[in-house]
């Protein structure tokens, strides 16, 4: 929505400056998008009249112009094809700066003739790209007067953003009304005096809706005007439309556009000669064809409002007129439509056919249902003024929709809801200025809502109107009640995730945030891609499926970084993955990727390729921080298919609860994703962890530190190659549950004298005496138990 400042003043009697108006608009809720100072680049240029233009004796395409700049006549050598005697243009004197070209003019000799200035094209003052000729002003423009004035560009154009609830401000008058209420001036009266009809309209209108669809167009006001002359609009009208970005077409079309922009009252003007029979306002028929003014043909369904004659749809109600009955220069008789179309149906129609028009924009936000006749009278007067003709009586079908309603406003709600005490008379004054009717009584106002404010539906709306016009700035800020110490803002689950995030970053991983969607191809590599999780309207085919895992995005990110020359990515993300569309079918996962080698090349120690144990360490570190005991977590080689089958595993709690996956990513997956090198990744499933509880007591268990020195013994067992280390360690640990407190593996050896299918696992066993120091014989007995237990569990024997 935009309008020149002077246009606003046609409705608003005010002495306020542009800056004041802009400030008040902003603070009443009509947000300023921009103020266009159109004449900015015309500053310093004046109207110049070519007193005489002669061909340059030495150049075919140049003219020598004697230009009257108001104070003197100067010589200008001009190359424009339209330079001629009598032309009135925009003159730039020597020494001026030309904004469109960035050149500062100086007297220049052109083929023997000194040129003392320039006649400008639109491009040279940034008005358009037109450089085919110089600007031509009306003949009556006064030489020496500012060019911006002569061009009608001196007036700044205010562009505001109208929120969807304020259809009433989609005309300049509505904006003026808000400003008047806000104390910026007085709303001028609008001349809606009836224009007496002198003929009867040969065209009748019939509202023809099935039961239940009457509200599609409940009210239609028409008027026939005979004998008009449709030509070019006068300058004032063309300037207005141009200022708001509309192209002047012909007086009749321009008048209907002016009504839309000025009063928010879209009209349609039919060429009556092209209307066959009477007009039927009805719902469209399934498959009905309609040729619109935009030059396109549309196929309608059965739910759109059309204005039809005997030949078919002539206009799409509230959206766009038809090509067949549009006005042309030759139009003699017209039929003018001023109707009320249902906002919802208008919006649906426009959306289905993807037609955006100034009319649709207003009808779908609700035009004033009580302004059909007034609008018609104003429009008729404009037509008679500009095009002549004889008006008919009004043709009225249907009746004004019932918009009248009262709401109550408890005075105290301004304070208890709006947060500010405002005197009752001030409240009444504001509401009255906005067009509300106010009846007082015992602390409660009965407020009748004006026809142009369908958005006002409850008491809160009235509080908003009063407080908004009074000014939000005046509401005193009150601190939030904080009489107690704050309780924790995050719950145990969120605390865990936060801890995991900072722990992973502490381990040298860099947090990424990636999209929740990815390509169907990548999703399918990681077990996703279900139809239910495929977007109907993705922004691109690469981002069309909700992610089943955090790994693909991280792997792709590592790949992109590698392509930029940054190998060895260490990335993690904490966020949702999706396995179904229901609310419970998403969970929060920590995923991470380490790629390449462990670090940069350096003098002290060689980097090594990352492997599954890096990922396992990351996962275990997080699980440990979540309070899980490492010796209760089983690692088994059962990771999903996107991992390297031999270099991956699952961290489990018991047989069923999967805490995490870890491992190297399957080389085929990496190849499909176009990334190179080893990638070791992990996924930790927070929601599978034992529920985090806020325990009542923060006390730790009693720490019973042993008094006696622990004894360590090393063993090397030869076992079959497929025996897991965990099994050997577990057997050793359970050999003497009371005294063995720690078992660790420090060497794995295969080959050599062991032969095929065997390996040696070297373990260290810590024996912790509890009541007294152990004798050599007792220690020896424990060692024998370890050997026996490992042998029983794994068939392993001590390596000789």
């Amino acid at each position: 929505m935009k309008f020149p400042f002077q246009w606003l003043k046609e409705h608003l009697d005010t002495k306020a400056s542009l800056d004041d108006v802009v400030e008040r608009l902003t603070m009443t809720g009509l947000e300023i998008d921009k103020v266009h100072h159109r004449g900015k680049d015309l500053e310093g240029f004046v109207v110049g009249r070519v007193v005489e233009a002669k061909k340059h004796p030495d150049a075919d395409k140049l003219s020598i112009c004697q230009v009257d700049n108001g104070s003197e006549t100067v010589v200008v050598v001009c190359g424009a094809p339209n330079a001629r005697t009598g032309l009135v243009g925009v003159f730039a004197p020597s020494g001026s700066y030309i904004p469109g070209t960035g050149i500062t003019l100086k007297p220049t000799e052109i083929r023997g003739v000194v040129s003392n200035g320039m006649l400008l094209s639109e491009r040279e003052v940034n008005l358009s790209d037109d450089h085919d000729g110089i600007i031509e002003l009306p003949d009556d423009a006064k030489p020496g007067s500012p060019a911006a004035d002569a061009m009608g560009l001196a007036d700044p154009v205010i562009e505001i953003e109208i929120t969807p609830n304020r259809g009433d401000c989609l005309g300049v008058r509505g904006v003026a009304r808000d400003l008047a209420a806000a104390g910026v001036g007085a709303l001028k009266p609008l001349n809606c005096a009836p224009v007496p009809g002198v003929i009867e309209s040969p065209i009748k209108v019939n509202l023809d809706f099935k039961v239940g669809a009457e509200n599609a167009c409940p009210y239609f006001v028409g008027r026939f005007v005979r004998g008009v002359k449709n030509g070019e609009s006068p300058k004032w009208l063309k300037d207005k439309l141009t200022a708001v970005g509309l192209r002047p077409i012909s007086a009749l079309v321009d008048i209907s556009n002016l009504m839309t922009m000025d009063l928010g009252r879209p009209l349609h003007v039919f060429d009556a000669a092209k209307v066959k029979g009477d007009l039927q306002v009805r719902l469209s028929k399934q498959g009905e064809k309609f040729s619109a003014l935009d030059g396109k043909e549309y196929e309608l369904d059965a739910e759109m409002t059309v204005i039809a004659d005997d030949a078919g749809a002539e206009a799409l109600g509230g959206v766009i007129g038809g090509a067949a009955s549009g006005c042309t220069e030759d139009t003699v008789d017209v039929f003018v439509e001023s109707a009320y179309f249902d906002p919802v149906r208008t919006a649906m129609t426009g959306r289905k056919l993807t037609i955006m028009s100034d009319a649709r924009y207003r009808f779908e936000r609700g035009v004033d249902p009580a302004f059909l006749v007034d609008g018609m009278e104003i429009a008729t007067r404009l037509i008679l003024d500009l095009c002549g003709g004889e008006p008919s009586e009004l043709v009225i079908a249907g009746s004004e929709p019932d918009w009248k309603r009262d709401l109550t406003l408890r005075i105290e709600r301004i304070e208890s809801f709006g947060g500010i005490k405002i005197a009752e008379n001030k409240i009444t004054e504001i509401l009255t200025a906005l067009g509300f009717g106010v009846a007082e009584g015992n602390g409660v106002l009965t407020v009748s809502i004006p026809s142009w404010r369908p958005d006002i539906v409850g008491e809160a709306c009235l509080v908003e109107e009063v407080v908004r016009i009074h000014g939000y700035d005046n509401i005193p800020a009150v601190p939030m009640d904080r009489s107690e110490l704050p309780t924790p803002a995050i719950g145990p689950d969120q605390r865990r995730r936060g801890m995991a995030r900072r722990l992973l970053a502490g381990r040298g991983l860099i947090e990424a945030v990636t999209y929740s969607f990815l390509s169907a191809k990548q999703a399918s590599l990681f077990g996703g891609g279900a139809q239910a999780l495929t977007l109907i309207n993705p922004i691109s085919a690469d981002l069309d499926v909700m992610r089943p895992s955090l790994l693909p995005n991280l792997i792709a990110a590592a790949g992109r970084n590698a392509d930029r020359g940054i190998a060895n990515a260490r990335l993690f993300e904490i966020g949702p993955r999706f396995f179904g569309a229901a609310p419970e079918d998403q969970d929060i996962v920590a995923g991470g990727i380490r790629s390449g080698v462990t670090g940069a090349r350096n003098w002290a120690e060689p980097p090594r390729p990352v492997d599954l144990f890096d990922a396992k360490a990351d996962a275990l570190a997080v699980l440990g921080a979540m309070g899980l005991q490492a010796d209760k977590i089983d690692a088994v080689a059962e990771a999903p298919g996107w991992y390297h089958p031999g270099h991956s595993g699952v961290l489990r709690l018991g047989p069923k609860t999967i805490l995490a996956h870890f491992g190297e990513i399957h080389p085929r997956i990496l190849k499909d994703m176009g990334v190179k090198g080893t990638h070791a990744g992990f996924e930790i499933f927070f929601d599978n962890l034992p529920k985090a509880k806020d325990k009542k007591s923060k006390a730790r268990p009693f720490l019973d530190l042993p008094q006696f020195h622990a004894v360590e013994r090393d063993f090397a067992f030869v076992v079959d190659a497929d025996v897991s280390a965990a099994k050997v360690l577990g057997a050793a640990r359970s050999a003497e549950k009371k005294l063995i407190t720690q078992v660790s593996l420090f060497d794995v050896f295969e080959g050599g004298a062991l032969g095929d299918g065997k390996k040696s696992l070297a373990i260290n066993v810590v024996v912790q005496p509890v009541e007294q120091t152990l004798t050599d014989a007792e220690i020896e007995a424990i060692a024998e138990k370890v050997v026996a237990s490992v042998h029983k569990a794994t068939g392993g024997v001590l390596r000789s």
Binding site: T26, F417, V478, T487, I490, L504, E511, L535, R570, W603
Partner: protein, 356 residues
């Protein structure tokens, strides 16, 4: 006595001239060992009479102590110099770089969310969460955005098939559906913050198909627009760390609040440098308002008894403004150079007492 003086002089000279630890040990054994010369003299004390023994004994003991001290002193000096010589041989180039370590980073989105939670947590709001895939009712209808509402078109919604054309699911276009879920599941009063991912079908220099919002909701029997202003003004000043930050409330429109406001903070672009604080310009940072009675009704909260406010802001925008990050799209590109530059140290945990 002369005998002893001579012995002292001889031993002291020997100690003084000893070439190393081995020499000193030899001297110690020859003087103080089991058959050392001083030890032998001590053995002779038994043959003396009491007076003579006392006198000679004292002298011998003094000599013994003196020699032992001298040896010990010389030993330490000798070992110090040997150690120093060894250490001197061992010196390395201290300008060599350390072994490489990798420093992790917290993403600015996470850090900003933590900051917002730290501030609003002080005001008694606590974090609530909800699903990214929503139904139409929670995302729109319950928030007073009926199917035909123009505001719905402005949301650029992503759709999922759901159970059919009339029952499509959406990727939540804002975090507001969590307001609905929270109010449906509990009893007032409510004081929640909802950080989370949100989605809109739009992609250009200033729009990303996924971004983050933080939503706030305060519902009780007495909260009014003055509290809304108090909460937001205090929040903005704490978040940007500008005590006197100008904060302006402009009337606006959201279907789920009434009255509604957009909030601007003061800024300046003087001298070509953007700065938040007192200045000649304003910058829009969030939308807010009093929760629309229809929204409360939809959640079975009695609007005749309860009222309060809600607000919502874009996390990325807040982070961009606070930390001078120029481009929205870079947040999701996972460019390691960007993450290292704009990311945060893991131990930099925001809190009101520790700083933001």
């Amino acid at each position: 006595m002369k005998e002893l003086d001579a012995l002292r002089s001889e031993l002291m000279t020997a100690v003084d001239q000893a070439a190393g630890l081995d020499d000193l040990e030899n001297i110690r054994v020859s003087a103080l060992g089991k058959k050392g010369r001083i030890t032998e003299l001590m053995k002779g004390l038994g043959d003396m009479d009491a007076d003579a023994r006392k006198q000679a004994g004292q002298a011998l003991n003094a000599l013994k102590g003196e020699v032992a001290d001298a040896i010990e002193t010389k030993k330490r000096a000798s070992s110090d110099s040997e150690l120093e010589a060894r250490l001197a041989r061992e010196s390395v180039d201290v300008s060599l770089p350390v072994r490489p370590e990798s420093e992790g980073r917290i993403h600015p989105i996470s850090q900003t969310i933590d900051e917002v939670v730290a501030i609003l947590g002080e005001m008694g709001l606590s974090v609530a969460e909800g699903p990214d895939i929503e139904d139409d009712w929670h995302n729109f209808t319950a928030l007073n955005i009926p199917p035909d509402h123009p505001a719905r078109q402005e949301h650029d919604t992503f759709y999922l098939p759901g159970a059919g054309d009339d029952d499509r699911l959406v990727l939540r276009t804002h975090t507001s559906p969590v307001q609905i879920r929270t109010m449906m599941a509990g009893e007032p009063p409510f004081r929640i913050i909802v950080p989370g991912r949100t989605y809109r079908c739009d992609y250009d220099a200033t729009h990303s198909p996924m971004f983050h919002q933080v939503e706030g909701l305060v519902i009780d029997e007495a909260t009014h627009m003055g509290h809304l202003k108090g909460c937001i003004v205090e929040f903005c000043r704490a978040f940007f760390g500008v005590d006197d930050l100008p904060v302006r409330f402009r009337p606006s429109y959201f279907p789920f609040t009434e009255p509604s406001a957009e909030v601007d903070i003061g800024c300046t672009r003087e001298g070509g440098e953007f700065r938040i604080g007192h200045g000649d310009d304003w910058l829009e940072i969030l939308g807010c308002g009093m929760v629309n009675a229809k929204v409360l009704e939809n959640c079975n909260v009695d609007p005749a008894k309860y009222q309060g406010f809600a607000f919502g802001m874009g996390i990325e925008r807040m982070a961009m403004l606070k930390y001078g990050i120029p481009d929205l799209r870079t947040f999701y590109e996972s460019d390691l150079r960007w993450l290292r530059h704009y990311g945060f140290n893991a131990l930099q945990v925001p809190s009101m007492v520790g700083g933001l």
